[in-house]
Amino acid sequence: MKPIRLALVLGTCCLALLGCSPAKEAPAKAQNVPPGSSWRAIEQLPDWGGAWHLTTGGQFKRGGVAGWSPPEMTPEGVARLKTADEAYFKRGINPPLQNCLPDGMPHIMDYAFPMELYFVPGKVVIYIEAYGQVRWIFTDGRQQNSDLPPTYNGHSIGHWEGDTLVVDTVGMIPQTQLVVSDNFLGMRHSDQLTVHERIRLTGPDTLEIKTTVSDPVIFAKPWPTVKTYRRDRRPLMQANEYVCSNNREPLDAQGRQSFQFNPPKD
């Protein structure tokens, strides 16, 4: 081949290699892919690492700590709480939690034990040290599924609004109680119970969860509460195992607490 023709051929090939390729694919239509749907996307989420220790709200609502007030109740709610108050304060009846059964949502989020939050694609997972509980919050765009049976912690669907995780939980079993006061027995909720949470950082090492509990059978209005947490990344402060293996204060058939002494050995 003559040199100039060779040069033209080579030049054309070079241009082709440089990207003058035919029929470039049209860019994929921007799909509404939720944040955190891949390991790479998770890098864009806020840093919720470390262990979170409750500072206000939750279990500390007793003693006048700011951040909560009791719910406004329907007449049915007032009646149920009255029944619960009589059982708890007068007859000493304790909740199933006393027999190592978990509290379920929302009260499982109220304990003065740390929690840790983990991101995996499409899910936020919460490990709650109290009773060794796990919650999954699905952020992959799925909808609530009424084919699923009710559970202790319900079914949580979440989505990101900027750096705030917004979560809706439904499907809690009827046996769990709502703790709305110093009465740890709590009151019975209905199957219309739903829990709405807004979780976000409020500072470099502080987290806030705004929770709204709705149950139109017992609450006249949705019940808002706020919990705040401080972050601790030290290994000593992590969330640990909690197996309720040595309950020496089990409940009798009526729900009253006992106290088991070890028989003295000779």
Partner: protein, 129 residues
């Protein structure tokens, strides 16, 4: 020697600092009273939902009286600075407790002090470990 059990008056602040893990009412315990018990550490159960401290107090005729005392979750105590290796069975310890209302030898733990050692408090850590 039989250690006199002391009742500390004005223990209002201690009475409010109950252990974490409010999964049950504290109706069993007298939260207005604080009792001190000293004896030999017979057993220490690092368990949930409560640790249990078994103390034998020497008594008449060589027959000891055994106290059963519940405390917080082991994780709560570790975060408060308790160390597994510092709790040794057979050592002399002094505990302060809210006693059972029934008068039986049991209670809810406030502090544990090994003989010659530092007092260790039950309760949720403030993060300053």
């Amino acid at each position: 020697m039989f250690k006199r059990i002391g009742i500390i008056a004005g223990a209002a602040t201690l009475a409010l600092a109950g252990p974490a893990g409010a999964h049950h009412t504290f109706a069993m315990f007298d939260l207005k009273k604080v009792v001190t018990v000293t004896g030999t550490l017979k057993d220490f159960q690092w368990t949930n939902p409560h640790i249990w401290v078994e103390i034998v107090v020497p008594g008449k005729g060589g027959k000891g009286a055994q106290w059963a005392i519940e405390g917080s979750s082991p994780s709560v105590l570790i975060r408060k600075g308790w160390k597994h290796g510092e709790i040794k069975l057979g050592q002399q310890v002094t505990v302060t407790i809210h006693p059972l209302k029934t008068g039986q030898k049991g209670g809810s733990l406030l502090t544990l002090t090994p003989a010659g050692g530092k007092s260790m408090e039950d309760g949720v850590s403030d993060g300053k470990v």
